[in-house]
C-alpha cells in the first residue's frame, strides 16, 4: 500500500492523524527551523517526544521537518534541531539545505534523511546527487512535474519518492521563491513563513473588504463576501497593457485553488511513487482527521485495484476550486 504522510501542527492534530489512519505524520519544532513557523503552531521538545510515543504505540512513524535554510552564523540552531529529532526517536528528518544535509549525514549516520520539497530537486540528476553524496532515502518531489515525468524520474533513481496529493499548492518551485521577502522581509527559506500573518491586515473600506500584505492590496471583495488570505502567488494583480497584450486584472499567477489529486492516485502508484503527502500543518485537528480518513480509504482502494472513492473530500474543497496542479501538463 502507498504510505500516507499526514500533517500535524499541534500534538492534538498528531493524535487525530494517527487515530484517523495515517501511516506517518510529519511535524516540526516551534521555531524558525521549519517551513510552517506560524504563530501558535508546532512542537516543543517534550511534545515531540510524547507525540512520537503516541504514534509508535500505534505503529505510526513520525517525520520531523527541519526544512528551512540555516542562517549564516547561526547554523547551531538547526544542527541542534536535527540532533534533538534524532534523540527523540524520529523515523526520519526532512531537510532542504545542502549544508545541513551534509552535517546530518556526517554527525548522525544512523538517521534516515528525506529530501524536503523545499530542496526543489526536480530532476534525476539532482536527486541522485543527494542520494550519492549523503545517502538520502526519499525525495519529496517539487510540484512542477507531470505524472509521466514522475514515472520517468522513478526509472532513473534509487530513492523513494513522495508526492503531494492534497492541500495548499505552491505555484512556484518550492524553496526557490522570494516573493514573500520581497513584500515583507520574511521568507519561507529564511524564516519558515510565506505571506506571514504578522504582515496581514484586513479592513473594511468603502463597502469593500480588503486584505493587505505588507501594506500591499492583495484582495478586494464586495462587503459580505469572504476575503481570502493574502497569499502572494494567489493574489489579485493588474498587468498594464504592453506590446505583448492588453491590460489584465485577476489571479495572474494562480487562482485561489487547492490541490486534490485523489483521482490520480492509481496513476501515481503505477508511476512508482512510495508515499502520498497531505499538506496542511496549519489546519485544525478536525480538518486533518477528515482528510486523513478519506485518503486512507483512497490508498486502500488503490491497493485493491478498486476505483477511487468519489466525493470523499467534496466537503473540504467546498467553496474552493480544486486542481490537479502540475500533474496535468495543461496546468503549465
Amino acid at each position: 500500500m502507498m504510505e500516507l504522510v499526514c500533517p500535524a501542527g499541534t500534538p492534538a492534530a498528531l493524535r487525530a492523524a494517527v487515530d484517523a489512519g495515517a501511516h506517518a505524520v510529519y511535524c516540526g519544532f516551534a521555531d524558525e527551523t521549519n517551513a510552517r513557523n506560524f504563530p501558535g503552531l508546532n512542537f516543543s521538545r517534550p511534545e515531540l517526544a510524547e507525540g512520537i510515543a503516541y504514534a509508535a504505540a500505534r505503529g505510526v512513524r513520525v517525520l520531523v521537518a527541519i526544512n528551512t535554510f540555516p542562517r549564516a552564523g547561526d547554523q547551531a540552531i538547526w544542527h541542534r534541531a536535527v540532533a534533538d529529532a534524532h534523540a527523540a526517536g524520529a523515523h526520519a528528518v526532512i531537510l532542504a539545505d545542502l549544508g545541513l544535509i551534509a552535517h546530518a549525514a556526517e554527525a548522525h549516520p544512523g538517521l534516515r534523511l528525506h529530501l524536503s520539497v523545499q530542496a526543489a530537486a526536480a530532476n534525476p540528476d539532482a536527486i541522485n546527487l543527494y542520494a550519492e553524496a549523503f545517502g538520502i532515502r526519499r525525495v519529496v518531489l517539487p510540484r512542477v512535474l507531470t505524472v509521466d515525468e514522475i514515472a520517468a524520474t522513478n526509472r532513473e533513481i534509487e530513492v523513494e519518492t513522495e508526492v503531494f496529493v492534497f492541500g495548499g499548492l505552491c505555484v512556484m518551485a518550492e524553496g526557490r521563491c522570494s516573493l514573500s521577502s520581497w513584500a515583507t522581509g520574511l521568507s519561507p527559506n529564511m524564516n519558515g513563513v510565506c505571506s506571514p500573518a504578522s504582515h496581514v491586515a484586513y479592513a473594511e473600506v468603502g463597502g469593500h473588504n480588503e486584505a493587505r500584505l505588507g501594506g500591499l492590496l492583495i484582495h478586494r471583495t464586495p462587503k459580505g463576501a469572504p476575503v481570502p488570505y493574502p497569499t502572494l502567488c494567489k493574489g489579485c494583480f493588474t498587468a498594464p497593457a504592453t506590446p505583448s497584450g492588453p491590460a489584465q486584472t485577476g489571479h495572474l499567477f494562480e487562482d485561489p485553488v487547492s490541490l486534490d489529486a485523489t483521482e490520480l492516485i492509481p496513476k501515481l502508484q503505477k508511476a512508482g511513487v512510495t508515499a502520498l503527502k497531505i499538506e496542511g500543518r496549519q489546519r485544525s485537528r478536525a480538518y486533518v482527521a477528515q482528510v486523513v480518513r478519506a485518503f486512507r480509504a483512497a490508498v486502500e482502494a488503490a491497493d485493491a485495484g478498486a476505483p477511487m472513492p468519489a466525493g470523499l473530500l467534496a466537503k473540504l474543497t467546498e467553496g474552493q476550486a480544486a486542481t490537479t496542479g502540475a500533474y496535468a501538463k495543461t496546468w503549465r
Binding site: 535554510f69 540555516p70 542562517r71 549564516a72 552564523g73 547554523q75 532542504a96 539545505d97 545542502l98 549544508g99 545541513l100 551534509a102 530537486a121 526536480a122 530532476n123 534525476p124 540528476d125 539532482a126 536527486i127 541522485n128 546527487l129 510540484r143 512542477v144 512535474l145 520517468a152 512556484m172 518551485a173 526557490r176 521563491c177 522570494s178 516573493l179 521577502s181 520581497w182 513584500a183 515583507t184 522581509g185 527559506n189 529564511m190 500591499l216 492590496l217 492583495i218 484582495h219 502567488c233 489579485c236 494583480f237 493588474t238 498587468a239 498594464p240 504592453t242 506590446p243 505583448s244 497584450g245 486584472t249 495572474l252 499567477f253 494562480e254 502540475a326 495543461t330 496546468w331 503549465r332
Partner: protein
C-alpha cells in the same frame, strides 16, 4: 570589488544579443556569464550567438562562464546541461542537478538561484570545486559578511546582486503564456514582446513584480548603489549587474565608478535616477527589510 555581468534573463532576439555583448566587451567589467537560464524553449532562437559572443568577450580580456538553466526538468534540458561542461569554459550552475554532470576535479561557479544561505553549504560546494558564488538576492548584509569570511577560508569569491530586476521565483508554469490564456507548450513565445519583463501592479496601482516567462522578478530595479561602502568594507568580491534594455553601457560605467571611488549614497542614487528616468529602485534585501523597499 569588481563587476560581473549576469546572464540575460529576458527573451531577446539574436540581433539584440549580439549587439549587447559587443557593447559589453568595450566596458570595464571583469567577467561575463552567458547562457539561457530561464526557459530552454528560447535557446534555439539565440544560441548561435553564444560562440561569437564568447570569442569577442575573451578577446577583450573578459573572464567568461556559461550558465546552466535554473530549473531543469526535461530530458532535453539535462542533455543541454551535460553539453555545457564539454564546452571548455567554466560553468555557472543555476540548478544543483547540473553538478552531477561536472567532470571530476573541475572548478565551477554558482549562480543566485542556487540556495547558498550558510557556511555549511558554501564549504560543501567549495569541496566540490566551487570558486565563485553569487548569493541569493534575499540575503541580508550580516549573512553576506559571514559568507564572505567563510569564502575567504574556502577559496570562494562572493558576489552580490548589484543591479537589476531580482529573480524572485521560478515555476513549472509560464505566466506570460497564462496572461494570454495559453499553456506553456503553446506559448508562441509571447515573452519576446516584453524585453524587460511585463510589469505587474497591485490593485492599488503600485509597481510590484515583473513577469518573465516562467520567472517572476521584482518590478523595481534592485540596486546596491547606496550600499557600496558596506559591501566593500566586508570584503565582497564582486557586484552582479543584470542585463536590461536601455543604455546599459552607462549603467556599467556608473557601477564601475562607484566601486572604484565610492560616493555619497544620495549622490549615487541621484545619478542612477538620471540614467534611468522613471524607473523605481529598491534596496531592502541587504538591509533585512522588505526587498521592494524604495532605495534612498
Amino acid at each position: 570589488m569588481d563587476l560581473t555581468i549576469g546572464p540575460i534573463a529576458f527573451f531577446w532576439p539574436a540581433k539584440r544579443v549580439r549587439a549587447f555583448y559587443r557593447m559589453i566587451a568595450a566596458t570595464p567589467v571583469r567577467r561575463v556569464v552567458i547562457g539561457e537560464w530561464v526557459c530552454s524553449k528560447r535557446l534555439p532562437f539565440w544560441q548561435q550567438e553564444i560562440p561569437g559572443a564568447v570569442a569577442h568577450l575573451l578577446a577583450a580580456g573578459k573572464e567568461v562562464a556559461l550558465s546552466s538553466l535554473a530549473l531543469i526538468t526535461l530530458a532535453r534540458e539535462r542533455k543541454l546541461t551535460e553539453e555545457l561542461f564539454a564546452a571548455g569554459l567554466p560553468v555557472e550552475i543555476a540548478d544543483l542537478g547540473a553538478l552531477r554532470h561536472l567532470p571530476e576535479g573541475t572548478a565551477f561557479q554558482v549562480g543566485p538561484m542556487v540556495n547558498v544561505y550558510n557556511e555549511g553549504t558554501l564549504e560543501w560546494l567549495a569541496r566540490k570545486g566551487a570558486t565563485r558564488i553569487c548569493l541569493p538576492p534575499e540575503l541580508p548584509l550580516a549573512s553576506v559578511a559571514t559568507l564572505v569570511r567563510a569564502g575567504r577560508g574556502a577559496g570562494v569569491a562572493i558576489e552580490v546582486w548589484g543591479h537589476g530586476r531580482v529573480p524572485l521565483a521560478i515555476s513549472g508554469r509560464c505566466y506570460h503564456a497564462r496572461l494570454h490564456d495559453r499553456a506553456k507548450d503553446s506559448c508562441q513565445f509571447v515573452c519576446e514582446q516584453d524585453p524587460d519583463g511585463r510589469e505587474v501592479q497591485t490593485l492599488d496601482g503600485d509597481g510590484f513584480l515583473a513577469v518573465n516567462g516562467v520567472q517572476v522578478l521584482g518590478q523595481a530595479h534592485t540596486t546596491v548603489a547606496g550600499q557600496v561602502a558596506e559591501l566593500t568594507a566586508i570584503g565582497t568580491g564582486a557586484l552582479r549587474l543584470s542585463p536590461q534594455i536601455g543604455d546599459f553601457a552607462a549603467i556599467v560605467a556608473f557601477y564601475d565608478r562607484i566601486t572604484q571611488n565610492p560616493t555619497g549614497k544620495a549622490e549615487a542614487l541621484a545619478r542612477l535616477r538620471e540614467l534611468m528616468p522613471g524607473a523605481g529602485f529598491a534596496d531592502g534585501f541587504l538591509a533585512a527589510a522588505p526587498g521592494l523597499r524604495r532605495a534612498g
